[in-house]
Amino acid sequence: MKEFFQRLVSDKVGLIGFIGILLVIIVAVLAPVIAPYSPDRMFTEHTLEGPSSQFLFGTDELGRDIFSRTVYGAQVSLQVGLIAVGIGATAGLIFGLISGYFQGKVDQVIMRVMDVFFAFPDILLALTIVAVLGPSLTNTMIAIGIVFTPVFTRLVRSAVMSVKENEYLTSAVAIGVQPVKIITRHITPNIMAPFIVQITLALSGAILTEAALSFLGLGVQPPDPSWGVMLNASRTYMEFAPWTILFPVSAIVLTILCFNLLGDSLRDLLDPKLKQ
């Protein structure tokens, strides 16, 4: 772990990503402290005002402080990302482990079901699920989680299969270790590298998917300020009041960039093939 951080520090790209994400998390956690106003407080006399000392990033069409909303948006967007990816990753881990370890018929059944979900285009699947469940923060997260499950399942499954190629696994079988322990102690820790990389990338994917759902009006519900919601609302006013789009867009772009940079360099750092 320590060694890992040392290597992370030596990789500037990854470090930038890591620090960036840390900042976003801090902002999200400290949102009530940082934000000068409540994110849904409306100053109806001050709609669509440019940045000023009172409103650092200006105000939106309903006279709300964009700075406060961007700060709280970090909370909402991160929450969406974490929980959605949490759902997808956990389900994927379980299915993938079962599928990759036991193979045979179980594997066939799980993978065919995943194929079915995989065959649905992401956005359309999310859209349909949200349409069924009704749009809300929770349902958005569930929908994105379901959409991500097949990807994680496939990844975990193939990682399990490649771990199974290692002799330490044959060795564990030869020693007589119980299948459950083989999965938990020998396989799971060794598939974590690609799994974690996928998680960082999926996090950015989840935030973007939420934004896309917001564009279609099916994402996080107002007045909750997810960046996707802000972005979509401000599209109409972009020309009239560019700051309404500038700040949420910057927030989303930088955050996703950081997740990607981190994931990218984790991939290099954790990939034994690229170790020098």
Binding site: Y168, T170, K181, R185
Partner: protein, 325 residues
């Protein structure tokens, strides 16, 4: 039927790997990795299986260990027939038969400390309480020439030789009766190899172990084994006492193999038999004797008839038409 004097008996063992093909993935052929071999290993004996890559020696070892299900034939462990015990049930018997692998870098789980690697077999088979187990681990690590201080390190902090010591400790800590060593020293440098070989011999005496030693290194095999079986294309070509095999090889393949070892004596004159061509594809072996395509002494009969495996001299078996008149 089984003789309890033998630690292991293998009778007419076959292990075929199916080749799938066609629209419905039906089996369209077989790779005959192990094709009807019979041998036994006495208690406290070291039997080596030698041969070139693809000859089926590893598959034999792994099938004995029930890492593969045999296609047919019988395997006995200490007189008990294990070939038809389901794998799940066999799990508990695994403490009697252990395995040491070739690659010291991939045979230890990189995410586990040496301590947990050694504890695992004990706890799995409930051979000791956690406290006792910890003591046993300490004893064992010292027996293989490492120190207790090294227990909390991870495998990557060790050199190849040290890792192989850890693997040995892990295999032996459950006090098995039989150990299958699959190319256990092949990946090591000469100076380290001899350390490990010494250790293996020492431990064999101490724990009264039976070894099945699988290797392609004929020098090492000569040093370690009581008896040697020479395999080619899934079949046993010759089996006998080590000294008989090395001093009086009967099978043309064994002779070629032994002559191919580079000599270490600059003054030694050696008759070198250079074999031509490569080992045939095991999914499509030649008719009759599997070695006939490369055999300098092949004749018509070799193509027509598979040679029988006969005891040509006392305890010296060979499968070759030259010795079957």
């Amino acid at each position: 039927m089984a003789d309890t004097a033998y630690a292991i008996e293998v009778k007419n063992l076959k292990k075929y790997f199916p080749i799938k093909g066609g629209v419905l993935k039906k089996t369209i052929g077989n790779v005959k990795a192990v094709d009807d071999i019979t041998f036994n290993v006495k208690r406290n004996e070291t039997l080596s299986l030698v041969g070139e890559s693809g000859c089926g020696k590893s598959t034999t070892g792994r099938t004995i260990l029930k890492l593969y299900e045999p296609t047919s034939g019988e395997i006995f462990l200490n007189g008990q027939k294990i070939s038809d015990i389901p794998r799940g049930k066999f799990r508990r018997m695994r403490k009697d038969i252990q395995m040491i692998f070739q690659d010291p870098f991939s045979s230890l789980n990189p995410r586990m400390t040496v301590r947990s690697l050694l504890l695992e077999p004990l706890l799995t088979h409930k051979l000791a309480s956690r406290k006792e187990a910890n003591e046993l681990v300490g004893e064992m690590i010292e027996k293989v020439g490492l120190s207790k201080e090294q227990l909390d390190r991870y495998p990557h902090e060790f050199s190849g030789g040290q890792r192989q010591r850890i693997s040995i400790a892990r295999a032996l800590i459950v006090k098995p009766k039989v150990v299958i060593l699959d190319e256990a020293v092949s990946a090591l440098d000469v100076s380290i190899q001899s350390q490990i070989l010494n250790l293996l011999i020492k431990l064999q005496e101490e724990f009264e172990l039976t070894y099945v030693f699988i290797s392609h290194d004929l020098n090492v095999v000569q040093h370690l084994s009581d008896r040697v079986g020479v395999m080619y294309l899934g079949q046993m070509m010759e089996l006998g006492e080590t000294k008989d095999i090395y001093n009086n090889p009967l099978h043309p393949y064994t002779r070629a193999l032994l002559s191919a070892i580079p000599s270490l004596d600059p003054y030694e004159k050696k008759e070198r038999i250079i074999l031509h061509g490569d080992v045939p594809d095991p999914s499509n072996p030649p008719s009759g004797c599997p070695f006939r395509l490369r055999c300098p002494k092949a004749h018509d009969r070799c193509a027509e008839e598979k040679p029988r495996f006969l005891e040509k001299e006392k305890n010296h078996w060979v499968a070759c038409h030259l010795f079957d008149e």
